[in-house]
């Protein structure tokens, strides 16, 4: 059992609480950087896919896990990020400017949409954001002149100061690009969590009344959350475009939105780890299923709806038996070992919450 002996406030403020955690994450980072030398190109591509999903997951996690606002429209923001990046590059803007700018543009669009949409709560908010997903498809078709419409677009090769990056011919370079973006997004997320804005997000999520009484402007805070969430999602979208190699109006469909939301619920709402765990499940499950199916019933047989069925089943199982997701399960296992043999069975049982103030307004 480890005991954190704190001697300074910095212990609580800095990124890693102790040397052990620093070592663990340092080792993980070293492994991530050494990965192209350890595994083949196919699996490197799969890991890249996981990281891209994880970035998108971080984006949605900031909004849903941290601020408590569900969104089923994040595929629309993936699309905005992807199209903004591609169109900017086609206009001759270098990647190193176009890519960050694509995220910022997505963030601003998100902020504009947030102003009316975030007046809604719960299920109504979910429905309104579904509309966004559906609208995005139509808008892409209607603005064929810029977006390429149904026939779609092909992102150009990435060049950073003459250094070329392409997903198919040089997967390890593309992997490093995605890895760097992932690290930057994770750092942004982590920094927000340990500063006043991150706490304001949690305050809005848990009690809007008392957040207001403490001086938190609800609409402005939600707007910031939506904007930041969309910015990160936009970056993920741009990378997804490169990863897919081609995209059109159907690439970023409602199914992607639902998958994203499912992913963070399975991973564990409200934690950075959750976004990554969920991404692993979402990215690897289709592959694992098809390998499993080939071995069990033979590769010639097609089972329609297998993937969605299994996804749905997993989601239901998690909501019923492990609402805290994979990360929650991991925390429980870790605590059991840390406290061994003193862990109690109901340590994580949620207490019935006390009566809440009747909703004002």
């Amino acid at each position: 059992m480890r005991i954190h002996f704190k001697t300074s406030y910095q212990h609580d403020i800095r990124l890693f609480p102790d040397r052990w955690t620093l070592c663990v994450y340092g080792a993980l980072l070293a492994l991530a950087f050494a990965l192209p030398y350890l595994i083949g190109e196919f699996y490197l591509g799969e890991v890249t896919n996981v990281l891209i999903w994880a970035i998108a997951g971080l984006g949605l996690m900031l909004l849903t896990g941290q601020t408590g606002q569900a969104s089923l429209g994040h595929a629309a923001f993936l699309a905005i990020g992807c199209y903004a990046n591609t169109i900017l590059i086609e206009q001759g803007v270098p990647f190193i400017i176009a890519f960050p700018l694509a995220g910022v543009i997505t963030g601003f669009v998100g902020l504009l949409i947030a102003i009316p949409v975030l007046r809604l709560h719960g299920i109504y908010l979910a429905i309104a954001t579904i509309a966004l997903s559906v609208l995005a498809d139509d808008i892409i078709v209607l603005t064929e002149h810029w977006s390429g419409g149904v026939s779609g677009k092909f992102p150009e090769m990435i060049t950073i100061f003459g250094f070329e990056i392409e997903r198919w011919s040089m997967p390890s370079r593309f992997y490093y690009l995605v890895l760097v973006v992932t690290i930057i997004c994770t750092l942004f997320y982590r920094n927000l969590l340990r500063s006043p804005l991150g706490r304001a997000f949690a305050a809005v999520r848990d009690s809007e009344v008392s957040a207001t009484a403490m001086g938190v402007h609800i609409a402005r805070t939600k707007g910031k959350a939506f904007g930041l969430s969309c910015m990160i999602t936009g970056w993920a979208g741009a990378l997804m475009g490169y990863y897919a190699g081609t995209f059109n109006n159907e690439t970023f469909s409602l199914v992607i939105s639902i998958t994203l939301l499912m992913m963070i619920v399975i991973g564990g709402l409200g934690s950075i780890h959750g976004a990554f765990f969920g991404a692993v499940v979402v990215a690897f499950l289709p592959q694992a299923l098809s390998i499993l199916k080939d071995n069990v019933v033979g590769s010639g047989v097609a089972i329609p709806g297998l993937e969605t069925g299994v996804f749905g089943l997993i989601l239901i199982m998690f909501i019923l038996f492990e609402p805290m997701g994979i990360y929650g399960r991991w925390l429980k296992i870790r605590t059991w070992f840390e406290l061994f043999p003193f862990a109690r069975k109901d340590m994580f049982r949620r207490q019935k919450s006390y009566l809440k103030t009747e909703r004002l307004r």
């Binding site: 927000l192 500063s195 009690s207 009484a213 919450s353 103030t357």
Partner: protein, 255 residues
């Protein structure tokens, strides 16, 4: 001039008059208690001061500022902090994080600085933490610092909520039933704390409370409400002896 002045406040919910032409003022440095039977409009008066409700009529002045010109989230910036009758804490956060939200009105950093966690943000965080630690020391919350609210007993939550209000370093503290649901010992603690908040920290306290022992122990002046209107005002002893108050609580002919 009084710190908080309320004149002719009226609020109706449909046909129900929740607060009826209510006027009172709270002086700097005093503990002012509002008592009254259920539904008398005590909490409604609090929600009017917090700007959660829009009054039909009346003026609300805090330290020369017209409260009606402020939004609910701007009230905290003036130096008014409050607790809630049914405890409104941030359940899925630690005690420390809850108290740090209390520091929200003192934040100086911008979104960009926070994203990059610049040295200034780090310094500010330390400053906030220091202020919060003072509150933790004051309320003996050391054992709970890193505990999640969701797992804490009721009595501790009550104290954490008081702590969150104190962390914002207010000039006026609104306590909505600080002793409801507390044991005799916890109520006793609450009494010393309210005394110290006034004497050591120089914070003016306005509270709604049913426990007459606590009210007469700490408050300088008491206002009795019934059906949204003022029934009596004065020292605790005066109000308790007032025939109208006894009638409102116990019914006519009880004495």
């Amino acid at each position: 001039m009084s710190l908080l002045e309320i004149n002719n406040a009226t609020l109706k919910f449909g046909g129900v008059v929740a607060v009826n032409d209510l006027s009172f003022s709270v002086e700097e440095g005093e503990v002012y208690a509002i008592v009254g039977p259920n539904g008398a409009g005590k909490s409604t008066a609090f929600n009017l001061i917090s700007r959660f409700y829009e009054p039909f009529a009346g003026t609300f002045t805090f330290d020369g500022n017209n409260l009606l010109e402020r939004d609910a989230d701007q009230v905290a910036d003036l130096g008014i902090a409050r607790t809630f009758q049914n405890i409104e804490l941030f359940e899925h956060a630690t005690v420390l994080q809850n108290l740090l939200v209390g520091r929200h009105r003192h934040r100086k950093t911008t979104l960009l600085e926070e994203m990059f966690f610049t040295p200034r943000v780090r310094r500010e965080e330390e400053r906030h933490r220091e202020a919060v630690e003072e509150v933790i020391d004051f309320l003996d919350l050391q054992p709970y610092r890193n505990k999640m609210i969701a797992g804490l007993p009721y009595g501790v939550r009550k104290v954490v909520e008081l702590g969150r209000a104190l962390a914002s370093k207010p000039r006026l503290l609104l306590l909505d039933e600080p002793a409801s649901g507390l044991s005799v010992e916890e109520t006793q603690d609450m009494r010393w704390w309210i005394d110290d908040i006034r004497k050591q920290m120089g914070i003016t306290v306005l509270m709604v409370e049913h426990d007459m022992g606590l009210v007469s122990g700490v408050s300088d002046r008491v206002l009795a409400l019934a059906d949204g209107a003022k029934l009596a005002e004065g020292t605790p002893a005066e109000v308790q002896a007032n025939p109208a108050v006894i009638e409102a609580y116990l019914g006519a002919g009880a004495v």
